[in-house]
Symmetry: C2
Subunit: 361 residues, 2 copies
DNA sequence: TTTAGCACTCAAAGCTAAAGAGTGCTAAAA
DNA sequence: TTTTAGCACTCTTTAGCTTTGAGTGCTAAA
């Protein structure tokens, strides 16, 4: 993209910011009152015509003002948008909640999702990456009550899962020890699809009179392992879309929601974006058709991977209309995910880089 | 409500069922073709006029067909609706999932909610009642890894909660034993608001060099107890409302969603309904203004309490337009909640009463 | 290079007329 | 006494038409 003259930059920026605020096309007269632009509407019309010729603006129809194109937004995000900063206080306050959830990735992602949605006022999506390999490092158990115990699975990934199991009252603490012994001896290090019939039979034999319980446990363990191994995508706060006139058309809304429910496509879009766009470390901004999903041609997806050490273990992002408050969203996602990165790496305080004057909420 | 003549009953039923299906007002001509009604449209017009005089029907405007009033639906549900029955197979199949979640009330409700929403195609709400008293019966723990352990809280209600705690690597299994000892000695049987400063100080002293950890644990334990003690309302599948033309008006939809997000009002409505309506054991049907929430004047709320033994521990319900497939929804909620009742009481198989010819889906 | 002026375009809003669905009433038929 | 056919009437919906006004592009002068 060629350099623009300073005035063109100013005009483009003003148009985008005005449009982001009220969603209306921006006319030359309105723009001529912008402080910092001391020229007549006619001059601005000329400039706008040129910006349109470059593909940065467009008109919904001849007698309307200008609206940024996808390319316009892209230029804005890449070249015109500096020093975004969020209300650091908000994040800091909420990060306390995050730290409480430490140790459970699911919990962290869920909490972060809620935070991101609340801060940006757009629906938030979280992705949990598929772990390379799922197997249990250790089984443990706690006898709770007559015939009721807690099965604890500690995975090699460090994740911990617990399931409450209810069985017959005759089931004794000693029986639990026996069963845990068997599980630890035969299932450690096995992946879900290595659990085959001979293995199950062997385990049932070890369980003696509680072989029925053992079979039930196998189902539960198998399901839990499957669940651990699945990549997972969640959407939080879909209903926030209702606020934006872009989705007042009920069909647009329905399409979007169908997309959220399908999940596969969204996952693909994110994988896509991560692969193709610049350094896959920073915040990714996919505007309109830049992401491959047709339904999202009028929407923007902004997200950033979450890492533990240097391994990507998920992503957190936000979906909204193309007309989006990019500064705010990018900054929020950036802070939030960086905060999680460092939490996960064990650094204690959530870092709040640089000095912060709050942006508007 | 006075008895209607058989023909009037037939007409009312036909009108409601036709209207439920397509949402359009029903005209006399259309109705005269109904098999079972062998009279002219003029006769039907006379009957309809009388039904309207009784307050069972109304006209959106002079030149439109008739639409059931709230009272009309009420009469239909009370007097005209017999032998509803669901696709039993569907429920049976899904009940397997339910049984897997046994032991965690939250899990059961969540699963049931998903089932109800899927079966009826309306948003489903679940309520967890506020338990009379929350206190921990026993603390337990499992040392997972260097400085990482699982804290297990067994509540007197039988609920079990686990939290993964990450602390300093120096933290040894022996330290865990010490801490559990202290917790069990000082916190058993205490309710959340009995945890005061002297108690905390005592606990921190017991923790020795890990007093910071102990303080962190107190926060977590306190929060968990609070959470256990809260009554809780969740809504699943809000977006299903989009299917129904009643909510095509975006404001109607917004109001509804705001209602779901507020929760207090909905809780009140349910408490209300349980208190005022017939035997509080069966399925409750609150049509339009019968529930006190103004926003729901055009909607219906159908729910039934869930019990363990004879104690109400929650409720599961469905929200949709007044024009609702009452037969199907009532039957689904009834089966589902009865199934859960008996699961919770420890009876093994999910009972599927009576012979079932499937109704349409 | 900038600006004022002016003719032109086109969506949005309002207005009118025609179409159509459904009713209530009356009078005749069963 | 009940049912039915006929008819005038009401009122929404739809389509087409006009008006309004915002915003533009172009031209010519500053």
């Amino acid at each position: 993209m060629v350099e623009l003259t300073p005035r063109k930059k100013l005009i483009l920026k003003a148009i985008i910011e005005s449009h982001v605020q009220d969603g209306e096309p921006v006319g030359s007269k309105h723009l001529s009152q912008h402080p910092g632009l001391s020229c007549s509407s006619a001059t601005i019309r000329n400039e706008m015509a040129e910006l349109e010729a470059m593909g940065l603006l467009e008109q919904p129809h001849t007698s309307a003002g200008r609206v940024p194109t996808e390319l316009g937004y892209r230029y804005y995000v890449d070249s015109l948008l500096e020093n975004y900063s969020t209300a650091a206080a908000e994040i800091q306050q909420m990060s306390a909640n995050l730290r409480l959830k430490l140790g459970e990735l699911d919990g962290i992602l869920a909490e972060a999702s809620r935070m991101a949605a609340a801060l940006t006022n757009y629906p938030c999506i979280t992705v949990k990456a598929k772990p390379a390999l799922v197997s249990v490092a250790k089984f443990d158990g706690i006898y709770v009550d007559e015939g009721k115990f807690l099965l604890i699975m500690i995975f090699v990934s460090g994740a911990v899962c617990t399931k409450t199991i209810e069985t017959v009252p005759e089931f004794s603490p000693q029986d639990l020890v026996t069963i845990l012994h068997a599980l630890n001896e035969l299932l450690i290090g096995k992946s879900a699809n290595e659990i085959n019939l001979p293995l199950i039979v062997k385990l049932e034999n070890r369980a003696g009179k509680h072989s029925a319980l053992m079979r039930q446990l196998m189902t539960i363990i198998y399901d839990t392992m499957q669940e651990q191994g699945r990549s997972d995508l969640r959407v939080e706060g879909v209903t926030r879309l209702l606020q934006y006139p872009e989705y007042e058309d009920i069909d647009e809304l329905r399409n979007m929601i169908a997309l959220f429910e399908d999940k596969q496509e969204l996952l693909a879009a994110i994988a896509d974006g991560t692969a193709t766009h610049d350094e896959s470390d920073g915040v990714q901004v996919l505007i309109g058709s830049e992401n491959s999903v047709k339904v999202m041609n009028n929407s923007t997806l902004i997200y950033r991977p979450v890492k533990r050490g240097d391994k990507v273990i998920g992503a957190i992002g936000v979906v909204g209309p193309r007309r989006m408050d990019y500064a705010k969203v990018i900054s929020t996602i950036d802070r939030l995910t960086r905060g999680i990165d460092s939490l996960l790496s064990g650094e204690q305080p959530l870092p709040l880089p640089s000095s912060d004057e709050d942006s508007d909420t």
